[in-house]
């Protein structure tokens, strides 16, 4: 199975370990993984700011880099959702369509395509699971608290295979952290307050780590935790599933 690794721009630049963990995980499960080196960004920062009409160049670059693979996998719910909903290429609409349909967020790729049944990972810590909105409500990685519908959670399904881990309960199971792309600076006051409240919920329930599928949310919460000089750390799910802390 030929898999292309799609690494969101801020993960590439600031959290290379998350990308490495993703790569290693996919390799462990027998995927033939490549990293198309001329990839840049999915275009979401522009689109969510109202400049979707400027994303044509980004889209074309994305299609050029990611055509010809069986699957495209990224350690991010948000970027994947953007590709799935908004990737277009006038020059090659067929390829763009194929890419939209074969781009996966890492967790659902592990549960739905690779159908992972066991993991060789141990993480002896209390961990709070942050449900990133785009992964949750966009990609339906878990049941959403607003609906009257059966419970399920793909991240929890995998975390339950990790040895010695303790998943804590939260007061608000899927409230937004307030990152929101450019919202985090354009609406700084509300963004920060949302982040502080989200982090407080994890701390109150004695989390040692906050994990999630989107590094952007975690980066925002990490910024707040560090400013508060908290000992609570953030860690991407890929890092836990790949064996835990190095």
């Amino acid at each position: 199975m030929k898999v292309a690794l799609f690494i969101p721009c801020y993960v590439d630049q600031f959290y290379p370990n998350v990308a490495i963990a993703t790569l290693e995980l996919l390799e462990k499960y027998g995927c033939e993984v490549s990293y198309p080196k001329n990839q840049t960004c999915c275009g979401q920062p522009m689109a969510n700011s109202g400049f979707e009409h400027l994303t044509g160049g980004c889209d074309r670059n994305f299609v050029n880099n990611f055509k010809g693979y069986d699957y495209i996998v990224a350690p991010s719910g948000s970027c994947v959702l953007h590709i799935r909903e908004h990737l277009h290429d006038e020059d090659d609409p067929e390829e763009a369509k194929k890419i939209r349909e074969t781009t996966y967020e890492l967790i659902s790729f592990l549960t739905d395509i690779l159908k992972v049944k066991e993991l060789n990972a141990s993480f002896p810590h209390k961990v709070g699971m942050h449900q990133s909105c785009h992964g949750l409500r966009g990609l339906k990685l878990a049941q959403m608290s607003e609906l009257n519908a059966p419970d399920f959670s793909k991240p929890a399904q995998l975390l339950n295979m990790v040895k010695d881990i303790e998943i804590i309960h939260l007061g608000r199971v899927d409230e937004c952290c307030g990152f929101g792309g450019t919202f985090c600076v354009a609406e700084e006051a509300v963004s920060v307050k949302m982040g502080q409240d989200r982090v407080a919920d994890h701390i109150q329930h004695e989390a040692e780590y906050i994990t999630g599928v989107d590094m952007s949310c975690l980066m925002h919460m990490e910024g707040i935790l560090k400013r508060q000089k908290s000992n609570v750390k953030i860690i991407h799910l890929a890092e836990i599933l790949n064996g835990g802390t190095k």
């Binding site: 840049t40 937004c176 354009a186 006051a189």
Partner: protein, 458 residues
């Protein structure tokens, strides 16, 4: 004068952390009550689907149902009026009052008359208006405006209301007991109900098949006002229609459960014809609704039944307060309705969201609120209602992200300064850093690591 935008108003609101926490927790409590009650209805999601489809059908055939409604209401002895906008609506109300030589009117729950600024207009024309909903009455005394469509004075604490009542209604200073204050308001309103000759109500649902209107209240004030007055005026947006009486049950089941977690309001009052010797008027108001109906991407916003669930669940609304939206209807639904009324004035509102999507999930008529917020952003930028500096920054970013070479250069710079990272672009000052630390800077990007460690791949 430029109105302060949502971000600026929110910044001020957030200076009082205790109040923000209180506001957030109060509304989250209401969301919790909603969750609890909807889990007692196994067919909840089916009800939402049904309601959404009934509304979609009605909106697609609005011309037909409006005429059917007019015909049936007229046959019932009701006078039906058509108002193009808020000004026309207000003029119709004034004329009805003048014709009947009435200069005092009692009003119950109507966001539409807020939208039309009716109170102000009538006061200028020497008509006294008394709001009879407790929340609206409090705001009227405080010369304030609603911050929420169902819980209009949710931004006020009971101590503040105690003080207000002490000043205006003569209640003892320092008494903030809700039950006592409610009794005081009830007593002062009693005279109004007995003496005022005209009553205006809003409309929750209008049934085309029968020409009747339905008003949902908890306080019974709509009934009290209407039954004691000689003239009943009901003001409704044209989107309030439902085709048949049998559809009403679907909406009454979802409305209050979504709003407050109650199974139903205390009163669901049906008004069909005037009492003997009395008059009943219904004003059908457009005020931009047909324009919204013509916008394919935003048409669904007219399905709204004004339950306020999207406000209670919105993490931004809870932490910024209703007044930060500088619009009669606040929160997520307000942010998709307001740009239709005045795009320039409300250009900031679709951006006052993280697009988390919780609003769309609680919406009982399944309006795709967060998708519409995204779509409004595109429209607002294209129409030019955007900061020119932001536009330039976005153009630069689009260029850099379309070119792998430029991206790698920018990425290197970003890792040392964060300045050009997408999430902080377009900011003169680094707002990230006010209350957050920067990520630790790694030695190399993943791309660079990969070149060194996976040389066999390309």
């Amino acid at each position: 004068m430029k109105v302060a935008d949502h971000a600026e108003r929110s910044r001020i609101f957030n200076k009082d952390v205790d109040r923000v926490d209180w506001h957030d927790e109060t509304l989250w409590f209401v969301r919790g009550k909603r969750d609890k009650t909807i889990h007692q209805i196994p067919e909840w999601e089916e009800l939402r689907n049904t309601a959404s489809q009934i509304k979609a059908h009605t909106l697609s055939n609005l011309h037909y149902y409006l005429q059917e409604f007019e015909k049936n209401a007229t046959a019932n002895g009701v006078t039906v009026h058509w108002a193009k906008d808020g000004a026309a609506h207000n003029q119709i109300v004034l004329e009805i009052l003048k014709k009947n030589k009435i200069n005092q009117m009692v009003k119950s729950k109507s966001m539409l008359t807020e939208e039309c600024h009716l109170n102000h207009f009538l006061e200028e024309n020497e008509v006294e208006v008394i709001d009879s909903d407790l929340g609206e009455r409090i705001l009227q005394l405080a010369k304030d405006t609603p911050s929420h469509i169902v819980l209009p004075c949710i931004h006020m604490k009971k101590e503040e209301i105690g003080e207000l009542f002490h000043e205006h209604l003569g209640t003892p200073a320092g008494n903030a007991d809700p039950q006592f204050l409610t009794a005081a308001a009830r007593e002062s309103l009693r005279n109004t109900f007995l003496n005022f000759k005209a009553a205006l109500t809003g409309v929750n649902f209008a049934i085309a098949e029968t020409g009747e209107i339905v008003v949902a209240t908890n306080e019974g004030n709509a009934d009290m006002g209407v039954h004691l007055a000689d003239v009943h005026i009901a003001s409704m947006g044209i989107e309030k229609l439902i085709p048949q009486r049998k559809h009403l049950g679907v909406f009454l089941r979802i409305l209050t459960r979504s709003a407050t977690g109650q199974p139903i309001t205390t009163y669901s009052s049906h008004f069909k014809k005037p009492g003997a010797g009395k008059e009943m008027h219904i004003i059908l108001v457009d005020n931009g609704r047909t324009r919204q109906l013509g916008r394919a991407d935003f048409r669904n916003s007219l399905k709204c039944i004004r339950c306020g669930a999207c406000m209670n669940t919105c993490p931004v609304y809870r932490r910024s307060g209703g007044h930060s939206y500088h619009n009669v209807i606040a929160g997520p639904i307000g942010s998709i309705l307001a740009p239709n009324l005045d795009m320039k004035e409300h250009a900031d509102l679709p951006f006052a969201s993280t697009l988390c999507g919780s609003c769309s999930n609680v919406c009982p008529v399944k309006i795709d609120i967060h998708d519409q917020l995204y779509k409004w952003r595109q429209v607002i930028v294209k129409e030019g209602y955007v900061d020119p500096a932001k536009k330039v920054a976005m153009e630069v970013m689009a260029k850099a992200l379309a070119s792998p070479t430029l991206y790698r250069l920018a990425g290197k710079a970003a890792r040392t300064t964060l300045k050009y990272a997408p999430f902080v672009v377009n900011n003169k000052f680094n707002a990230w850093y006010l209350h957050r630390e920067m990520p630790e800077v790694p030695k190399s990007s993943f791309g660079e690591w990969y070149q060194k460690n996976r040389k066999n791949n390309d």
